[in-house]
């Protein structure tokens, strides 16, 4: 079935099973590999993308459900790796293995767009769907606060 996906402002006409998870359409069909596979059951957040402003787990979102909506992936966060969240992540050397960080960054970007200066509680809630086995959580928390600061200036 032909489906049009709008990813990072660009339309992609793809011919896939409408039940196929959005994750695999993004990675394998469109070829944007920054979004990662981790669990397949929306429990780890590696696959987080932003759809119409909300952080969603693309691994269990059928591609048909994303048709016509505005999808943002890590590749669309900025041109020059300089979005305030990316700047803060670099400044505080957040990533270790880095595999979960696309998902972490997408969750953080969605959070800050809704709540520009989040409390620790809001951060805990917004980031509850994102696992990091390297345990970079303390730096992620600090970097979200730092990104909020950078966004103000």
């Amino acid at each position: 079935m032909s489906i049009t996906l709008n990813i990072n402002g660009q339309d992609h006409l793809i011919d896939v099973d409408p039940q196929m998870p959005l994750l695999w359409a993004i990675r394998e069909t469109v070829g944007l590999t920054g979004t990662k596979f981790g669990c397949g059951i929306a429990q780890c957040g590696n696959c987080t993308v932003i759809v119409d402003g909300n952080a969603v787990r693309s691994c269990n979102t059928p591609v048909a459900a994303a048709a016509g909506k505005a999808i943002r992936t890590i590749e669309g966060v900025s041109e020059g790796n300089d979005h305030p969240v990316q700047q803060a992540w670099q400044e505080l050397t957040v990533p270790q293995c880095g595999y979960c960080q696309s998902g972490q960054i997408m969750s953080a970007v969605a959070l800050l767009e809704k709540s520009p200066d989040p409390t620790d509680n809001e951060i805990d809630k917004a980031m509850a769907g994102n696992i990091c086995r390297c345990g970079t959580y303390p730096r992620i928390r600090a970097a979200i606060h730092r990104a909020a600061e950078l966004s103000k200036t």
Binding site: M20, W24, N81, P95, Q96, C97, D120, I131, Y137, R141
Partner: protein
Amino acid sequence: MKHMNLTRRSFMKITTSAAGGLAVGIHFPSMAEASVEGAAAEINAWLTIDPNNIVSIVTPQTEMGQGAFTAVPMMVAEELDIPWENVRHVYASANRHVNNDNLYTTTSTGGSTTVSRRHPYMMQAGASARERLRVAAANRWQVPVDKVTAKQGWLTTEHDEQGTLQGTYGEFAAEAAAVTLDEEPTIKAYGDWWLLGRDVPRLDVPLKTNGTATYPIDVSVPGMVHAAAMACPVPEGRLVSYDFEAVRDMPGVIAAVELEQVKEVPAFTDLRSGVAIVADSWYQAQNALAVMPIVWDYGRGVAISTESQMAEAMQLISQPGALVLNEDGNVGRRLDRGVNHDAVHGIIEASASQVTGEVYYRPFETHATMMPPCAVADVKDDRVDVWTFTQDIARSLNEVADQLGRDTENVFLHQTYLGGGFGGGYNMDVHRQAAAISAAVGRPVKVVRSREEDVAQDSQRPPVWGTYKAALGEDGLPEALVTHFVGEEKIPAFSQRGVANMPYLVPNRRHEYSAVQSHIPIGYHRAPGANSTGFIVEQMVDELAQAGGWDPLEWRIKMTEGNEPWQRVLLAMKEKSGWTTDMGRGEGMGLAVVASHGTVAGCVATVAVSRRGQIFIDKLDFYINSGYVINPLAAREQAESSAIWEMSHAMYGGLVIRDGRIVNTNFDSYQVMKMADTPPEIVVHLEMSEDQWWGGLGEPTGPPTPPAVANAIFYATGTRVRSTPLANAEL
């Protein structure tokens, strides 16, 4: 005396091998891109310098978040004396390493050894290159070599007639490549460093904030198909049959490939009996595999469960175990000192002051790296290319060659970033699966494990049970101590490390070992052995201290007298942590110290336990004596990382086995720590001994964290929690 030996032939040979080194395999974007390729001269196998003075330093170890791709270039650059801004990292060629007598000594990446064990030859490579650059400059300028300085990328001399002469390393690189030194320089000592010891942000961070870092799962080869594979859900079991006809017509399905197991019981990295579906996309392959009828012969494992192993362990631990003098013949020296092992039981039985411990338990844990195991293989008649999840590129290359019966000269195993490792990248067969499937279908293939298949087939961390009995002397300190730990049969060391060689000097000491039967494959799991034994030993110590009327910190200080690395950690804790065993009801401080990987790591945990029994870790305070630290920023990051990693397992983990198979195979049932669980305050004190050495830093803060928390829970509630997950404890 150093002399120049530049002949056209040797120059040609070196430039050819440099180009060959760079041209091997498919090129990925990396920090090396700014280097002028082709024009760069290879000074030795570790580094090339281009005309713009950009130095590309080879890292044979894998990068899985621990910082090898920064640490290795730092060690080489320290000696080369080149501005850090001029340094790029490049992947080592596994093919070149394997086929040139292990050119880089080892590509293994584990045991927290990249800095601690490998620095001598890595620093030597930089020092040697620097000296050859000096010789090259001396020869061109016709001055004695001791008149040439090499500093921050510049070679300089004061020429008698021409005044100051200067050139960049890049200008002399080609000539330096042909220099032979009569004598290798001595590497710098601590105190002479300009780069090591500084906070250096890891080089790979920017690639990991915009999705451009490449992992095996991101590799794409023209014509590539996708595979989902399954081995017997009961480990050691074998495939009997499968019905491909039932799924042949499903969308995208191309083929089924049987994975043949050669040995009766496979070694950890052998291909395990199973079957794979190959399809146009991984989603299609996984869908077909999930519904394809498969018949397995489950083997002996089907009779084993968490309950059966627990019953067996409790039976074993109630009887005497086998005497353990040391582990691998290289630890346990303290245990042997002046001890009559055979008399220890008798001393305890005759004592009027006996302490009998209960049984402690740590269950199986899994790696669950964020990137599920995956590999890409492109098997052609004359060449094989593989990208895979591995912590040892050479070992994996050799295994692929073995799998396919190919000469290693024609096998190329390419490094990528890894989505976590934690030991999981050693005992792995996903690269063999990819190679076997690609060979069978005649096309490049990418194999990705579902999370469920990853956890079901992972080489797990084995369970450990432990108990003890002791006799106390008049001073309240133990006079005799027997520990008995039950482990798993395949790697006894994992239940002996940290206890057989514990630092507390008890005059009469005996350690015993027993093993349960287990079919579950096992492997290295960040601080293997110490991660489980530490939980038991460091709570036993608190129980012994309490029984003898000692403060647990003072007990440890007394029992490690004369052991400077431990004393430094313990005394720092006493001075800085605000240590107390009395914080009032519902709050507690606990401490634990565990040595692993040549490093002594102590943790003081502050916890609060709610009336409903919920545990909150308010603070983790670490005191680490690893000797030299080359990058304190990265050291602190690793300390935090290891602690959170191990608290995940202690708080929530524990694999459950039923009918021989692991039941909790995804993050819904195998829970790990998340943002909200993370202690609000983690402090890392790097306490360096005067008498320095090189200890590892990738793992050691994991083992002391859970026992420190469990000890804190005891002081908060009066309840001792002897098994994990702690979240299940009734408080």
